[in-house]
């Protein structure tokens, strides 16, 4: 089990190590990254992420338990970064290990969708030309 909010860069190798510690035959890992979206004449150069950390962690633990109960996932990784992230940096890792690929894919998909709908995390654009 691995649920985390972190102010430091997220590590894909660390997530893989946690997912790979059991005998699961399938591991699916989704990575969310900061996109250089265009906003009018300007471009997103970073995102500022914040969370209500206590409530967010409790919600992430519920998602982790839900993925095990619903999809039979053996291991779950749900790591979200907070603070300022530049374009290209990883904001979220949602991974699942299960006996077979179908349940690994379903679990990873389910936990990232639940994170978006259930966890109090917010992002704000930092645009080209912004002073901060």
């Amino acid at each position: 089990m691995s649920v985390r909010l972190s102010r430091r860069p997220l590590s894909v190798p660390a997530a893989y190590r946690e997912l790979g510690q059991g005998p699961a035959g399938g591991i699916a890992i989704f990575l969310g990254r900061v996109r250089p979206d265009r906003v009018g004449a300007r471009i997103v150069r970073a995102l500022d992420y914040e969370a209500d950390e206590g409530i967010a962690l409790a919600a992430m633990h519920r998602i982790e338990r839900g993925a095990r109960a619903r999809w039979g996932a053996d291991e779950i990784v749900l790591h979200h970064r907070i603070g300022r992230l530049r374009v290209g940096e990883i904001s979220v890792i949602a991974g699942a290990a299960a006996a077979h690929r179908a349940d690994a894919f379903r679990s990873a998909r389910w936990i990232i969708e639940r994170l978006k709908s259930d966890v109090p995390i917010w992002k704000q654009n930092v645009l080209s030309g912004d002073p901060r």
Binding site: G32, Y49, E50, A51, D52, G54, I55, A56, A58, H80, S91, V92, I112, L115, K116, S117, D118, V119, P120, I121, W122, K123, Q124
Partner: protein, 98 residues
């Protein structure tokens, strides 16, 4: 200990407030991450507290319809729940993590 060495704390001198935590667009609407709001000892309905904040901060009032509130770490259902002195109320705009 001899009697009368200490004066008891009396209610009128105690701080009786709700701690309001504001996040994301709600924080920007108010201009700060935290507010203290005095409430009577028996508390007030959440609706009344939010209406007061909305009158004080019109930019926040425009957002409140889309916000969720958590009281002492748990989301509330409906706004008739009473908010009492010492409670912590978090105001959450729609989430955008991921």
């Amino acid at each position: 200990m001899s009697g009368g060495a200490y004066l008891p704390l009396r209610a009128p001198f105690m701080v009786r407030s709700v701690h309001v935590l504001l996040f994301a667009s709600a924080r920007e609407a108010v201009g700060r991450p935290r507010l203290e709001r005095a409430v009577p000892p028996g508390g007030v309905p959440l609706r009344e507290l939010l209406e007061g904040l909305g009158r004080e901060y019109p930019a926040l009032r425009a957002l409140l319809g889309s916000c969720r509130e958590a009281l002492n770490g748990r989301y509330v259902h409906g706004r008739s729940v009473r908010v009492r002195p010492g409670d912590e109320l978090a105001i959450h705009p729609p989430f955008s993590g991921g």
